[in-house]
Symmetry: C2
Subunit: 96 residues, 2 copies
Protein backbone atom coordinates (compact mmCIF):
# COMPACT_ATOMS: atom_id res chain seq x y z
CA UNK A 1 0.00 0.00 0.00
CA UNK A 2 1.01 3.63 -0.54
CA UNK A 3 0.55 6.32 2.07
CA UNK A 4 0.54 10.02 1.28
CA UNK A 5 0.58 13.01 3.60
CA UNK A 6 -0.43 16.11 1.63
CA UNK A 7 0.05 19.52 3.22
CA UNK A 8 -2.22 22.26 1.89
CA UNK A 9 -2.41 25.90 2.92
CA UNK A 10 -5.62 27.88 2.36
CA UNK A 11 -5.57 31.59 1.69
CA UNK A 12 -6.25 33.39 4.99
CA UNK A 13 -9.94 34.17 4.35
CA UNK A 14 -10.65 31.01 2.34
CA UNK A 15 -10.47 28.26 4.96
CA UNK A 16 -14.18 27.59 5.11
CA UNK A 17 -14.56 27.50 1.33
CA UNK A 18 -11.53 25.21 1.05
CA UNK A 19 -13.02 22.83 3.61
CA UNK A 20 -16.35 22.78 1.75
CA UNK A 21 -14.73 22.07 -1.63
CA UNK A 22 -12.34 19.45 -0.25
CA UNK A 23 -15.04 17.65 1.72
CA UNK A 24 -17.04 17.33 -1.52
CA UNK A 25 -13.99 15.84 -3.25
CA UNK A 26 -13.36 13.42 -0.37
CA UNK A 27 -16.93 12.15 -0.59
CA UNK A 28 -16.45 11.45 -4.30
CA UNK A 29 -13.14 9.69 -3.68
CA UNK A 30 -14.78 7.43 -1.08
CA UNK A 31 -17.75 6.73 -3.36
CA UNK A 32 -15.83 6.05 -6.56
CA UNK A 33 -12.36 4.74 -5.76
CA UNK A 34 -12.30 1.13 -4.59
CA UNK A 35 -8.51 1.28 -4.35
CA UNK A 36 -8.54 4.11 -1.83
CA UNK A 37 -8.38 3.11 1.85
CA UNK A 38 -8.36 6.54 3.52
CA UNK A 39 -8.77 10.09 2.20
CA UNK A 40 -9.09 12.19 5.34
CA UNK A 41 -8.81 15.97 5.50
CA UNK A 42 -7.55 17.33 8.80
CA UNK A 43 -6.81 20.81 10.13
CA UNK A 44 -3.62 21.67 11.97
CA UNK A 45 -4.05 22.70 15.60
CA UNK A 46 -0.83 24.72 15.54
CA UNK A 47 -0.41 26.31 12.09
CA UNK A 48 -3.17 28.67 10.84
CA UNK A 49 -4.89 27.85 7.52
CA UNK A 50 -2.87 24.64 7.29
CA UNK A 51 -4.39 21.28 6.45
CA UNK A 52 -3.03 17.76 6.07
CA UNK A 53 -4.70 15.05 4.04
CA UNK A 54 -4.02 11.49 5.19
CA UNK A 55 -4.28 9.24 2.16
CA UNK A 56 -3.76 5.48 1.73
CA UNK A 57 -4.04 3.58 -1.56
CA UNK A 58 -3.98 -0.18 -2.09
CA UNK A 59 -1.29 0.10 -4.78
CA UNK A 60 0.25 2.30 -7.49
CA UNK A 61 -2.66 1.59 -9.87
CA UNK A 62 -5.14 2.90 -7.27
CA UNK A 63 -3.12 6.09 -6.90
CA UNK A 64 -2.97 6.56 -10.65
CA UNK A 65 -6.74 5.96 -10.90
CA UNK A 66 -7.20 8.69 -8.26
CA UNK A 67 -5.08 11.19 -10.11
CA UNK A 68 -6.79 10.41 -13.45
CA UNK A 69 -10.32 10.51 -12.01
CA UNK A 70 -12.86 13.01 -13.29
CA UNK A 71 -13.75 14.15 -9.76
CA UNK A 72 -10.10 14.81 -8.83
CA UNK A 73 -9.34 16.66 -12.06
CA UNK A 74 -12.49 18.77 -11.98
CA UNK A 75 -11.86 19.77 -8.32
CA UNK A 76 -8.45 21.23 -9.26
CA UNK A 77 -9.46 24.72 -10.46
CA UNK A 78 -11.81 25.40 -7.53
CA UNK A 79 -9.26 24.27 -4.97
CA UNK A 80 -6.51 26.14 -6.77
CA UNK A 81 -8.44 29.36 -6.28
CA UNK A 82 -8.50 29.04 -2.49
CA UNK A 83 -5.05 27.59 -1.90
CA UNK A 84 -1.98 29.62 -1.00
CA UNK A 85 0.61 27.88 -3.17
CA UNK A 86 0.96 24.30 -4.35
CA UNK A 87 0.29 21.32 -2.03
CA UNK A 88 3.35 19.54 -0.58
CA UNK A 89 3.10 15.80 -1.25
CA UNK A 90 4.97 13.31 0.93
CA UNK A 91 4.99 9.74 -0.43
CA UNK A 92 5.51 6.83 1.96
CA UNK A 93 5.37 3.06 1.81
CA UNK A 94 2.76 1.58 4.12
CA UNK A 95 3.97 -1.35 6.26
CA UNK A 96 1.71 -4.04 7.73
Amino acid sequence: MIAIIATLRAKPDKGEEFERLFTQLAAQVRANESGNVIYQLSRSRTEPNTYKVLEIYRDEAALEAHRASEHFRSAGPGLGGVLDGRPEIEMLDAIG
Copy 2:
Protein backbone atom coordinates in the same frame (compact mmCIF):
# COMPACT_ATOMS: atom_id res chain seq x y z
CA MET B 1 -12.58 12.75 14.80
CA ILE B 2 -8.95 13.27 15.74
CA ALA B 3 -6.08 12.70 13.33
CA ILE B 4 -2.50 12.18 14.42
CA ILE B 5 0.68 12.06 12.37
CA ALA B 6 3.45 10.51 14.50
CA THR B 7 7.02 10.71 13.25
CA LEU B 8 9.36 8.02 14.58
CA ARG B 9 13.03 7.47 13.85
CA ALA B 10 14.56 4.02 14.26
CA LYS B 11 18.19 3.54 15.24
CA PRO B 12 20.20 2.93 12.06
CA ASP B 13 20.49 -0.88 12.42
CA LYS B 14 17.09 -1.36 14.08
CA GLY B 15 14.64 -0.62 11.27
CA GLU B 16 13.57 -4.22 10.72
CA GLU B 17 13.08 -4.89 14.42
CA PHE B 18 11.13 -1.64 14.79
CA GLU B 19 8.85 -2.60 11.90
CA ARG B 20 8.26 -6.05 13.44
CA LEU B 21 7.41 -4.64 16.89
CA PHE B 22 5.22 -1.84 15.53
CA THR B 23 3.32 -4.13 13.16
CA GLN B 24 2.47 -6.34 16.16
CA LEU B 25 1.18 -3.28 18.04
CA ALA B 26 -0.87 -2.13 15.04
CA ALA B 27 -2.55 -5.54 14.82
CA GLN B 28 -3.54 -5.27 18.48
CA VAL B 29 -4.85 -1.73 18.02
CA ARG B 30 -7.02 -2.86 15.11
CA ALA B 31 -8.27 -5.91 17.03
CA ASN B 32 -9.02 -4.18 20.32
CA GLU B 33 -9.85 -0.52 19.74
CA SER B 34 -13.31 0.06 18.30
CA GLY B 35 -12.71 3.82 18.41
CA ASN B 36 -9.67 3.66 16.15
CA VAL B 37 -10.30 4.26 12.43
CA ILE B 38 -6.75 3.98 11.08
CA TYR B 39 -3.41 3.05 12.64
CA GLN B 40 -1.07 2.74 9.67
CA LEU B 41 2.73 2.56 9.84
CA SER B 42 4.52 3.93 6.82
CA ARG B 43 8.18 4.34 5.86
CA SER B 44 9.57 7.55 4.41
CA ARG B 45 10.87 7.32 0.85
CA THR B 46 13.24 10.23 1.39
CA GLU B 47 14.52 10.16 4.98
CA PRO B 48 16.42 7.01 6.14
CA ASN B 49 15.11 5.16 9.22
CA THR B 50 12.14 7.54 9.36
CA TYR B 51 8.57 6.36 9.79
CA LYS B 52 5.20 8.10 9.98
CA VAL B 53 2.14 6.61 11.61
CA LEU B 54 -1.20 7.82 10.23
CA GLU B 55 -3.74 7.58 13.03
CA ILE B 56 -7.44 8.52 13.18
CA TYR B 57 -9.66 8.19 16.26
CA ARG B 58 -13.43 8.67 16.46
CA ASP B 59 -13.11 11.06 19.44
CA GLU B 60 -11.01 12.09 22.45
CA ALA B 61 -12.24 9.11 24.47
CA ALA B 62 -11.01 6.71 21.78
CA LEU B 63 -7.59 8.34 21.86
CA GLU B 64 -7.46 8.13 25.64
CA ALA B 65 -8.48 4.45 25.47
CA HIS B 66 -5.61 3.88 23.04
CA ARG B 67 -3.05 5.51 25.30
CA ALA B 68 -4.33 3.65 28.37
CA SER B 69 -4.51 0.26 26.62
CA GLU B 70 -2.43 -2.67 27.86
CA HIS B 71 -1.07 -3.39 24.37
CA PHE B 72 0.08 0.22 23.85
CA ARG B 73 1.69 0.49 27.27
CA SER B 74 3.43 -2.87 27.07
CA ALA B 75 4.83 -2.07 23.61
CA GLY B 76 6.57 1.04 24.97
CA PRO B 77 9.79 -0.47 26.36
CA GLY B 78 10.48 -2.64 23.30
CA LEU B 79 9.87 0.23 20.89
CA GLY B 80 11.87 2.58 23.09
CA GLY B 81 14.89 0.32 22.69
CA VAL B 82 14.92 0.61 18.89
CA LEU B 83 13.94 4.26 18.52
CA ASP B 84 16.40 7.12 18.09
CA GLY B 85 14.75 9.70 20.34
CA ARG B 86 11.15 10.38 21.26
CA PRO B 87 8.35 10.28 18.63
CA GLU B 88 7.05 13.64 17.33
CA ILE B 89 3.27 13.78 17.66
CA GLU B 90 1.23 16.13 15.47
CA MET B 91 -2.42 16.47 16.51
CA LEU B 92 -5.03 17.52 13.95
CA ASP B 93 -8.78 17.85 13.79
CA ALA B 94 -10.32 15.64 11.11
CA ILE B 95 -12.87 17.37 8.85
CA GLY B 96 -15.66 15.59 6.96
